[in-house]
Symmetry: C2
């Protein structure tokens, strides 16, 4: 195995181990020693990739951002409405969060007050921008009632989604997340979508819940 490839694998192993610990015991509650032990690497290997714990948090926030942007791109398919793309994005993130410690740690870092280094935006800012763009599309497609303030709704939707995950993480198994995401959408659809289009999106929410539920 080429040295370059092995180094990349070690780096990924360290990030995953750090994410798992940050998610379960918090950033402050995790030492570099814990990470070395959990990742089963040497302290030298860790320091080769990361000078400080802060760099690990930054790497996790970077990965989270890249994943969210990729999922946003993947759920935007020609022929799909903007609202459907947005709904699919939230279900994708909910499912990925159940599987991937990096996304869970990213959320915990974001809610714990992490301040990403520029040019990386704060996750909540980035998510609000993504949601606002989708809602603008949805409004143009007449899927949002005309008297709705889109920026306000974008912020509220991020709050609602973050709250669903924050409340869920301490009270319920991660497998419950698709259910909670569907419940969030039931309320949002009733509040935002014109009456004539509601049935379509309510059944989409139910379908996406089934599709993203663990088998």
């Amino acid at each position: 195995m080429a040295r370059q490839v092995r180094a990349e694998q070690t780096r990924a192993t360290i990030i995953t181990a750090a994410a798992d610990l940050f998610d379960r015991q918090g950033y402050e509650g995790t030492s570099l020693g814990d990470i070395v032990e959990h990742a089963r690497v040497t302290r030298g290997a860790l320091y080769f990739h990361f000078a400080a714990k802060e760099d690990l948090a930054h790497a996790i926030l970077e990965l989270q951002s890249a994943t969210c942007r990729r999922l946003a791109r993947d759920t935007e398919v020609r022929g799909r409405t903007s609202l459907e793309a947005l709904m699919r994005l939230t279900f994708s993130i909910a499912r990925r969060s159940a599987e991937d410690p990096v996304l869970r740690a990213g959320l915990r870092l974001a809610t714990g007050g992490a301040r990403p280094r520029p040019p990386l935006s704060h996750p909540f800012t980035e998510w609000t921008d993504i949601v606002a763009a989708r809602l603008l599309g949805a409004a143009e497609e007449s899927d949002v009632q005309p008297d709705v303030d889109l920026d306000v709704v974008a912020h509220s939707l991020v709050c609602f989604f973050v709250g669903t995950r924050v409340v869920g993480r301490s009270r319920e198994p991660a497998a419950r997340q698709p259910r909670r995401t569907a419940e969030m959408w039931q309320i949002l659809i009733r509040g935002l979508v014109p009456v004539t289009r509601r049935a379509r999106y309510l059944s989409l929410a139910a379908r996406l819940e089934r599709e993203t539920a663990p088998v």
Copy 2:
């Protein structure tokens, strides 16, 4: 000053100092030494009241619970509808959180995975129970559309409110919280309240926002 009174004051000083630090730098990121220094008490005074950091977290969760139950009682006034009482409760908590480090620390402990000792319930469980009782009253008063699942909405409302505070705490000054609470209610009222009663509650949300905004 009687010894009993002085001891109570010292205990309150220590709790406030601990809450302030837990809120700003997290539970794991705060040592007993930090608390002693911040409270300007001796280590002996701290150990007289609290055997371990865990006992401080428990005391904060207990105070938070007592405050929320008191605010729930205070906002339930004869002649007020259940929905108005619920709306007033959320605005009261939003305002109190801006002023009181104990409520902010309580939320951070709750979102950070604190597990309160019985008989104290988890804050999210307690809040969901309070909201569910108010929503049941609101449904009986025909302020909630009949096809709404009240337990689902109670859970969603807690998620939405927690998310509003979690997202807000890392991105905005606490004074913005009444605005965000009003925005949350605008969406919930549109989604849950029968059309004929919406105007009344939308203007109540606007009024409560003005009343709870800092002068």
